[in-house]
């Protein structure tokens, strides 16, 4: 079985602050890490390979520094890594990113399961995974908390919903986005770390992929970030006390006051 894991390098959000004047992230001195949700995707990708045999390839679109994230994935047990990096991709929104990654995955060929984290901790959109599946025209299951079984060219998975979970059977190839309930990512072993240090990382630029230029980077991105800010803390609620009849009247009046 061939598994592909998509990962993103993000600033360690536990360290990130926003500059109140410029409304941009203060990145200085902030460490880059693998998007925490992607760690579960990597772990699951490695477990699938250990259980069913095959190969796990990790792929990332990002700046050259994302090399470190890919090496970390190798140290956890991924077999191969691919970095998709080009200035032409700068400013990509989720649509352009999904497109670019899908084209790179198409070039990797023969895949059975594509794994993504449920969302990235910096953008929190949860759109790139589904975007890739759409571009590749394959089924997708989001918020997967357990892969029950993979056989007969089908995967049976449990997907989280607000009320509980659903059991979904899907044909392969498919794309799954995973939640943190799915596993506990391993600590990379010493041998894994040594292997990762020496590993050759496949590196693709825009010209290596069969891409339509207008779908890339800023040009291919219908959405853009106009402002980042820390939302003001939610104001304290007001509690009405007294007997129900009285308080109900008060509520209705308060609502009327606000023209609702």
């Amino acid at each position: 079985m061939n598994i592909i894991v998509c990962i993103k390098q993000v600033p360690d959000t536990t360290q990130v602050r926003i500059d109140p004047v410029t409304n941009t992230l203060i990145r200085e001195g902030v460490q880059s890490i693998i998007n925490p949700f992607d760690m579960y995707a990597i772990e699951e990708g490695v477990r699938l390979k250990e259980k069913y045999g095959g190969k796990t390839t990790v792929i990332s679109m990002g700046p050259p520094q994302a090399d470190a994230a890919l090496r970390e994935a190798i140290s956890m047990g991924c077999d191969e890594a691919c970095l998709v990096s080009d200035r032409a991709f700068a400013g990509s929104d989720t649509l352009a990113t999904g497109y670019t990654l899908a084209m790179a995955i198409r070039k990797l060929k023969d895949y059975d399961i594509i794994l993504c984290g449920k969302q990235a901790s910096d953008g929190d959109t949860a759109q790139v995974g589904p975007g890739i599946a759409t571009q590749l025209d394959i089924p997708q299951v989001t918020y997967v908390k357990k892969i029950e079984d993979v056989k007969d060219n089908h995967a049976t998975v449990e997907r989280m919903t607000e009320e509980g979970f659903e059991i979904v059977r899907t044909s392969l190839p498919c794309l799954l986005t995973v939640v943190k309930e799915i596993n506990e990512p391993r600590i990379p072993s010493l041998k894994g770390r040594m292997k990762a240090k020496k590993a050759e990382i496949l590196s693709w630029k825009a010209i290596d992929l069969d891409l339509e230029e207008e779908k890339l980077g800023l040009k291919g991105s219908p959405t853009w970030v106009s402002k980042i800010f820390t939302p003001p803390p939610r104001p304290k609620g007001h509690i009405l006390e007294g007997d129900p009849e009285e308080t109900t009247t008060k509520i209705i009046e308060a609502l009327k006051d606000r023209l609702i």
């Binding site: 391993r186 600590i187 990379p188 072993s189 010493l190 041998k191 770390r193 040594m194 240090k197």
Partner: protein, 385 residues
């Protein structure tokens, strides 16, 4: 200080630090209370290839040496010295095999130890034979292709939990120190049972237990080295293992120190953080300096042994163990002082560091015995020239 570690050694240190922060520190206080053996952590260490760091690659290890062992021990002990012992006491039990084991013994035992599948332990101490190991009562009598062991070892780290025991016993009592031999005894061998498990002041996440041998038949292939070499092997084992105890001490001190700096910056009295008081600052400065000096001595002695320079090894490794353990006791006591009344409470981590530090002055030769070794060697050295 930059100890000019290789890239691999830095990688090892970072890995052990991650294991410590994620898996050891969070459960240290709980195991201190429950005295449970840290099997969960052992599993993580094993999967991370840590048990093989000081074992040759051909036996499944990572091919490092004593310095690697010390780096790992120090990092783990920073989180919990008791938990760290599952690893470092296994190294102690393995040392006789590494140093004097036959090729067959190495092939038989080292791979499973390197993989962390089996823990080891070393047993020399007896109720009436502590500092004076030659007073040992346990005997091994030859009987055809076997030796028959009888006697009791006590205070054995990893006792009951380990699968592989290297045990010193008298094969010829009349020959005194030259009459001891050392055997590999596997858990489950008929006649080999476990006695009392100790309730200790510190390192409570480590098992310390009695080993009882009653007509326990051990195949003669399990003897390490030759008959009569038991004490020699034990002494060489201690030469190798003392820097490891020192590393444990440095780790304990480092953990207590880090907690102290953090607390001193946070705790406010007289309207200021207590770290602004010179009385506290000087304590912190002394702690840091002593730790660095201890670490430098440990790394230097470990590197010397790894390089094969053994001329003054007994003295040097004794100095390293002696100094580092005294530093650990001093630093952890001061850490409790910096925490004030809070430091005395189990809710805060420093009283545990202080309890854990004490053992490093006692085992693998008390610090009085270390001073004896140092003095004896330096008198010998000076009388030669």
């Amino acid at each position: 200080m930059d100890y000019l570690l290789t890239e691999e050694q830095v990688m090892l240190r970072d890995l052990c630090r991650q294991i410590t922060d994620e898996k050891i520190t969070p459960i240290a206080a709980q195991l201190d209370k429950s005295e449970e053996f840290p099997w969960e952590v052992v599993k993580v260490m094993a999967e991370s290839d840590i048990f093989g760091v000081y074992i040759e690659e051909k036996y499944g290890g990572m091919g490092g040496g004593l310095l690697e062992l010390c780096i790992a021990t120090e990092e783990f002990s920073r989180g919990c010295a008791g938990i760290a012992l599952a690893f470092s006491a296994t190294a102690l039990g393995t040392d006789p095999i590494l140093l004097f084991g036959s090729e067959e013994q190495k092939e038989k035992y080292l791979p499973s130890i390197a993989a962390g599948k089996r823990l080891a332990a070393f047993a020399i101490t007896e109720p009436a034979a502590g500092s004076d190991a030659s007073a040992m009562q346990t005997t091994a009598k030859k009987d055809g292709d076997h030796y028959i062991l009888n006697g009791t070892k006590h205070f054995i780290t990893n006792g009951g939990e380990a699968e592989i025991y290297t045990v010193v016993a008298m094969t010829n009592k009349d020959r005194g120190a030259r009459g001891a031999s050392i055997f590999i005894v596997e858990k489950g061998t008929p006649g080999f049972t476990f006695g009392k498990k100790e309730d200790k002041l510190g390192i409570r996440g480590s098992a310390t237990r009695e080993l009882i041998f009653t007509d326990c038949r051990v195949p003669k292939e399990n003897m390490i080295g030759k008959e009569g070499q038991g004490f020699l092997i034990a002494m060489k084992t201690f030469d190798m293992s003392r820097p490891g105890i020192g590393a444990q001490a440095v780790g304990i001190a480092q953990g207590a120190f880090e907690a102290s700096v953090k607390y001193a910056k946070e705790r406010k009295q007289f309207g200021k953080s207590i770290s602004s008081f010179q009385g506290i600052q000087f304590m912190l400065a002394d702690m840091a300096t002593q730790i660095e000096a201890a670490r430098a001595l440990i790394y230097a002695s470990a590197r010397q042994i790894d390089a094969g320079s053994t001329k003054t090894v007994s003295k040097d490794s004794s100095m390293a163990k002696l100094f580092a353990s005294d530093v650990a006791m001093k630093v952890t006591t001061d850490a409790v002082q910096i925490f004030g009344g809070y430091g005395y409470m189990k809710e805060y981590p420093v009283e545990k560091y202080m309890r854990d530090a004490k053992i490093t002055q006692i085992y693998e030769g008390t610090n009085q015995i270390q001073r004896n070794i140092i003095a004896l060697n330096l008198i010998k050295e000076t009388s030669k020239s």
